[in-house]
C-alpha cells in the first residue's frame, strides 16, 4: 500500500498525542466510603483533533473534564491513572502549577452561558483579567487583545461590548464571549462541556460552526462533551461513548455510527429522534369531525413593563400576538419555536394562568370572564406536564399523594377510592403502586416525569399540554416517555399540545404543528406539509439547524443568520405588524 497517501487521521495517529489519558479513575469520598465515578478511562487526543465524549447523565463525562482541568469538587479526586498533557501528568500537578496551565494551555467552556459570567463585572474586565492572569501584559494591550478576540468570534461592536455587563447580552452572545475568553490565550486543549445544550438550535449551529472555524485556524485540540449524537456526528472526528463511568467504546465517528460495536451504542443511536422518522411511521391520524378540544381565535398575551413618572407603563411585551388554531380530539398538536417566541406563554394562557385577549376556549367553554370556580373546572379538562419534573413535584409530599391530589381538590371520588385510583394511575404509567409512599428525590428523572404524567392523567383530561416535557431527559429515557405518551393517547383518546424546541422530536410525535416566531405563527399544517414542504424561511432555517446524527452529513454549509432575533418588547402604541397566514393548499398555512 506504499502508493496510497496516508490519511490525515493516520498521520495524526503516528504523531505524539497532545493528551494521553491512561486508566484514569476518579472517585468520590462520601462518609468514609470511596466510590468511583469514572473508571479506567483511556484515550488519546492529537493536536487539531476533536474528540467527543458522549453519554447520558451520570456517565461521568463532565467529571472527566473537571478532572482534566483540576476543578474537581473537594470530595472528588483522581485516585489512579494518568492524564499526560505534553508529557505532564495533570492530576499529580501541584495546584499552583495547575493554575498556571488553566486558561492558558487548557481552557474550558461550560454549559450555562447565562450564569458562567460574573454579573457584577463588565465583559471587558473579565476578558482582560483572564489574559493578565497568565502574561504580564499591560491593561491596554490586554484590552486590545480582548477586542480582537471578540471580533474573532464575530461579536458586533466589540469595543462597546467590552463595556457592557453580562446581563445585557443574549445567551448566544455570552457563549461567544466565553469562547473568546477561552481561546484568547491560544490554548493547546479546549474542553467544551455541553457548550450548546442551553442554546436555541439556530444559535447552537452558529456557535458550533464558529468553534470549528476557530479550531481549523489554530490547531487547538477540542474535547467536546455532549449528550447529543447529532452534534457528535457533525462536529467530532473521534468519539468515546461512556456509560456509568466506564468507556463503552471509542473510535472514529464514521465507524461508530456505521457499525457500532456495542449494544449500548446501538441502543443509544436508535433512541435518538431523527427528522423523517415520524413521516416513515405512517400517516397522521385522520382529522376528526368532532368539536375541537381547544380553540384559539386571535389570542393575544401582552405584558406591560416599565414606568414613566406617573407610574404608567412605557413598553409592552407582545408575547403572543394574534394566534389562531384548533386542537382536535385525539390529535397531537406540535408547537415549535425558539426561546422567547411565546410558546410557553401561550400554554399558560390556555390554562388561564396569564390574562389574554381574543378568544380562547377549552372543551367548549370560553376562558374569558370565568369565575375562580370556573377556572378550576377548566383544569379537569386541561392538565400540564412541565420540563423539570423535580421542580414540578413537591419534595415533601409522597408521590402517591401528589398523584392523588387532583382527585382531592376536585372531589372526584371518596377518600377510600382515591388511593386505589392513584395506584391504578401508577400502573398505567409503568410504575409500581408500592412506590407511592416514596418521595420525589428517590426516583430517577424519567420516573419522575412518569409521575407527573400520572398526575396529569388523574382527572382524565381532554387535553394535556406537554411543555418541553421530554427536553431535560436523556435520549433513551426520552424515547420511553414519548412511547408512553403515545400509548396513553391511543388508549384514552386525549389530545396533546406538544411544545418543544426540538424539531426532530416534534416530527416524531405531532400530527399537525405550528411554528412560532416572535409571538406569531409563521407556518402551520400537518406534519407532512410542514416538514415535507417547509415554506417559510424561518421554518427552513430551524430545520437546517438541527444537527443530524449521521456523519455523512458533515461539512454541509449553513446560511448564517443576520444578527440577533428582534425583541418582542415594543413601545406602547407601536404594535408589531401582523403577518397574515395564507393557505397554500390543503390547509397548509404560511405567513
Amino acid at each position: 500500500m506504499s502508493g496510497a497517501l496516508p490519511s490525515v487521521t493516520a498521520l495524526r495517529e503516528a504523531a505524539r498525542p497532545l493528551l494521553s489519558v491512561r486508566d484514569l479513575t476518579v472517585s468520590v469520598r462520601d462518609r468514609g466510603v470511596t466510590r468511583p465515578l469514572v473508571e479506567n478511562l483511556s484515550f488519546d487526543l492529537h493536536p487539531g483533533e476533536t474528540l467527543a465524549i458522549a453519554g447520558e447523565s451520570g456517565s461521568g463525562k463532565s467529571i472527566t473534564s473537571l478532572a482534566l482541568m483540576g476543578l474537581l469538587p473537594h470530595n472528588v479526586s483522581v485516585t489512579s491513572g494518568q492524564a499526560l498533557l505534553d508529557g505532564v501528568d495533570l492530576p499529580s500537578l501541584p495546584e499552583p502549577d495547575m493554575r498556571r496551565l488553566r486558561g492558558s494551555k487548557v481552557a474550558m467552556i461550560f454549559q450555562e452561558p447565562m450564569t458562567s459570567l460574573n454579573p457584577v463585572h463588565t465583559i471587558g474586565s473579565q476578558m482582560i483579567e483572564a489574559m493578565r492572569a497568565h502574561e504580564p501584559v499591560s491593561r491596554g494591550a490586554a484590552r486590545a487583545a480582548g477586542i480582537a478576540a471578540l471580533r474573532r468570534v464575530r461579536i458586533s461592536e466589540p469595543e462597546q461590548r467590552m463595556r457592557q455587563y453580562p446581563h445585557e447580552l443574549s445567551g448566544g452572545m455570552r457563549q461567544r464571549v466565553m469562547i473568546a475568553m477561552a481561546l484568547a490565550m491560544n490554548p493547546a486543549l479546549l474542553i467544551a462541556d455541553e457548550p450548546t445544550t442551553a442554546l436555541d438550535v439556530t444559535v447552537q449551529r452558529e456557535v458550533l460552526e464558529l468553534l470549528r472555524e476557530l479550531q481549523d485556524s489554530t490547531e487547538t485540540a477540542v474535547i467536546l462533551i455532549t449528550h447529543d449524537m447529532g452534534v457528535v456526528a457533525e462536529y467530532a472526528d473521534r468519539a468515546v461513548v461512556m456509560k456509568a463511568g466506564r468507556m463503552v467504546e471509542s473510535g472514529a465517528v464514521a465507524d461508530l455510527f456505521a457499525s457500532p460495536g456495542q449494544d449500548y451504542t446501538r441502543a443509544l443511536l436508535a433512541a435518538v429522534p431523527r427528522l423523517g422518522d415520524g413521516a416513515a411511521r405512517g400517516k397522521p391520524r385522520p382529522p376528526a369531525t368532532r368539536a375541537p378540544v381547544a380553540r384559539l381565535v386571535d389570542a393575544q398575551v401582552h405584558f406591560d413593563i416599565g414606568a414613566n413618572v406617573f407610574g404608567r407603563p412605557t413598553h409592552r411585551v407582545h408575547a403572543v400576538e394574534g394566534v389562531s388554531f384548533d386542537i382536535r380530539p385525539g390529535e397531537t398538536f406540535g408547537l415549535v419555536g425558539e426561546s422567547g417566541c411565546g410558546k410557553s406563554t401561550l400554554a399558560k394562557a390556555l390554562v388561564g394562568l396569564v390574562p389574554h385577549r381574543g378568544h380562547i376556549e377549552v372543551a367548549g367553554h370560553a376562558l374569558a370572564g370565568l369565575t375562580t370556580q370556573g377556572k378550576r373546572d377548566i383544569c379537569r379538562d386541561v392538565q400540564m406536564v412541565f420540563q423539570d419534573p423535580m421542580a414540578a413535584l413537591d419534595p415533601r409530599m409522597t408521590v402517591g399523594d401528589a398523584v392523588a391530589e387532583p382527585l382531592l381538590i376536585h372531589q372526584v371520588c371518596p377518600a377510600l377510592e382515591r388511593q386505589a385510583r392513584a395506584a391504578e394511575l401508577f400502573r398505567r404509567v409503568g410504575l409500581m403502586p408500592d412506590q407511592m409512599t416514596r418521595y420525589p428525590h428517590e426516583f430517577s428523572g424519567g420516573q419522575r416525569q412518569r409521575i407527573c404524567v400520572a398526575r396529569a392523567l388523574a382527572l382524565q383530561p381532554k387535553l394535556i399540554i406537554c411543555d418541553e416535557s421530554v427536553s431535560a431527559l436523556d435520549v433513551s429515557v426520552q424515547a420511553q416517555v414519548l412511547a408512553l405518551l403515545d400509548e396513553l393517547q391511543r388508549d384514552m383518546t386525549m389530545s396533546y399540545l406538544f411544545i418543544s424546541h426540538d424539531m426532530a422530536v416534534v416530527e416524531n410525535v405531532a400530527d399537525r404543528l405550528a411554528v412560532m416566531y416572535l409571538g406569531q405563527i409563521v407556518e402551520m399544517g400537518t406534519r407532512d406539509q410542514v416538514f415535507g414542504n417547509p415554506q417559510h424561511p424561518y421554518t427552513r432555517r430551524l430545520l437546517e439547524a438541527v444537527p443530524v446524527p449521521d456523519p455523512a452529513g458533515k461539512g454541509r454549509t449553513y446560511a448564517r443568520s443576520k444578527g440577533e432575533v428582534p425583541s418582542p418588547i415594543r413601545a406602547i402604541g407601536d404594535a408589531p405588524q401582523r403577518m397574515p397566514l395564507r393557505d397554500i393548499g390543503h390547509g397548509h398555512l404560511v405567513a
Binding site: 482541568m69 476543578l71 493554575r99 498556571r100 496551565l101 488553566r102 486558561g103 492558558s104 481552557a107 474550558m108 461550560f110 450555562e112 450564569t115 458562567s116 459570567l117 460574573n118 454579573p119 457584577v120 463585572h121 483579567e129 483572564a130 492572569a133 497568565h134 455587563y165 446581563h167 466565553m178 475568553m181 477561552a182 416599565g306 414606568a307 413618572v309
Partner: protein
C-alpha cells in the same frame, strides 16, 4: 433616578408620619401620668390640674397630636417636661456622641462579622467553620448588658487597658463599640457565610477558576462583591436594631448619647423627649434603608432604580 429619589423621600415622610402617630398613641394610653411625675407626691389636686392645663395635657388626644405635629413640621420638637429645655437642643447636644458610637459599632460588627463569615465559608464543613459558627451563635444569644459588663470587668477593671466609662478619647470608644458590634457580628458572620457559600457554588466562580485566576483574586474580586449584595440591604434594616442596642450600651458605659437621654426620659415619662428620640431614630432607620438601596446598584449593574 431623580423620580425614584423623590418617590422614596415622599414614602419616607409618610412612614415617619405613621411612626409619630403610633408612638404618640402608645404614650397617651400609657398608665403612667407625666403630670404626677412633674408635680411630685405632695402636690395638691389643684397644682396637678394647673400643670396639666399648662402642658395642654387636658386636651383630647387628637388635638394634642395635631399640636405636636404642627410644631414638628416647623422644627419645634417641644420642651422637656422636667429639664425645661428645648428637646431639639437636648438631642442636638447628644446626637454626635451617639452617631459616633453607632458608626464605630457598625464598623466593628461588619469587620468582625464579614471577616469571620468569609473565613467560615472558605473552610465550610471543617472544624474551623463549626467553631466559628458556634461562637457566632453565642455572640447572637448573649445579652448586651452582660457582654458590656463582662468586657468592662476584664479589659477595664482587671487589665486596665481601657477606661471604665465616659466619653472623650478613642480609648473610651473601644469597649462600647465592641459591645454594640458583637451581637450583630454574630448575625453577619452567619449571613455572610451562607451568602458566600452560595456564591462559591456559582458557575461564574468555576469560570474564574478555569481562567487560572489565583484563589485570592477569585475570592476578593469575584465572590465577595456578589456575596455582599444581600448583606447591604440587611445593614439598612439593622440600624433599627442598633438603636435599641444603643440605649442599653450607653447606659452601661455612661456614654452621653441620645440612648441615655431616652432611658432617663422613659423613667420620668418625659413624653417630648421620648417622642423626639423616637423620631430621630426613625429618621435614621428610614435614611439608612434608603442609603442601602441607593448603594446596591453601584455594586450590582443588573439593578436599576426606577
Amino acid at each position: 433616578m431623580l423620580g425614584y429619589l423623590v418617590r422614596r423621600l415622599v414614602q419616607s415622610v409618610l412612614i415617619l408620619l405613621g411612626v409619630s402617630f403610633i408612638t404618640f398613641v402608645l404614650l397617651y394610653v400609657l398608665p403612667a401620668d407625666p403630670v404626677r411625675q412633674i408635680a411630685g407626691r405632695s402636690a395638691t389636686a389643684q397644682t396637678v390640674e394647673n400643670i396639666r392645663q399648662q402642658l395642654g395635657l387636658d386636651q383630647p388626644m387628637l388635638v394634642q397630636y395635631w399640636r405636636y405635629l404642627s410644631g414638628l413640621v416647623q422644627g419645634d420638637m417641644g420642651r422637656s417636661y422636667l429639664q425645661k429645655t428645648e428637646v431639639s437642643t437636648l438631642i442636638a447636644a447628644r446626637l454626635p456622641a451617639s452617631l459616633l458610637l453607632m458608626a464605630a459599632g457598625i464598623f466593628c460588627e461588619l469587620l468582625i462579622g464579614l471577616t469571620l463569615g468569609v473565613i467560615a465559608a472558605i473552610f465550610r464543613g471543617r472544624s474551623l467553620d463549626q467553631g466559628l459558627m458556634v461562637t457566632s451563635f453565642v455572640a447572637v444569644s448573649a445579652p448586651q448588658f452582660v457582654v458590656g459588663l463582662l468586657l468592662l470587668y476584664v479589659f477595664a477593671v482587671q487589665l486596665g487597658w481601657f477606661p471604665i466609662g465616659g466619653y472623650g478619647t478613642a480609648a473610651h470608644l473601644v469597649l462600647p463599640a465592641v459591645t454594640l458590634g458583637i451581637m450583630g457580628s454574630g448575625w453577619y458572620s452567619r449571613m455572610m457565610r451562607s451568602s458566600m457559600v452560595d456564591v462559591l457554588r456559582q458557575d461564574y466562580i468555576r469560570t474564574a477558576r478555569a481562567k487560572g485566576l489565583t484563589r485570592r483574586r477569585i475570592l476578593l474580586r469575584h465572590a465577595l462583591p456578589n456575596a455582599i449584595l444581600p448583606i447591604i440591604a440587611m445593614i439598612g434594616i439593622d440600624i433599627g436594631i442598633f438603636m435599641g442596642g444603643i440605649v442599653v450600651v450607653e447606659s452601661v458605659f455612661g456614654w452621653p448619647g441620645i440612648g441615655q437621654l431616652a432611658w432617663q426620659a422613659i423613667q420620668r415619662v418625659d413624653i417630648p423627649i421620648i417622642m423626639g428620640v423616637t423620631m430621630v431614630s426613625a429618621t435614621a432607620i428610614v435614611l439608612g434603608n434608603l442609603l442601602a438601596d441607593l448603594v446596591t446598584p453601584l455594586i450590582d449593574p443588573r439593578i436599576k432604580l426606577r
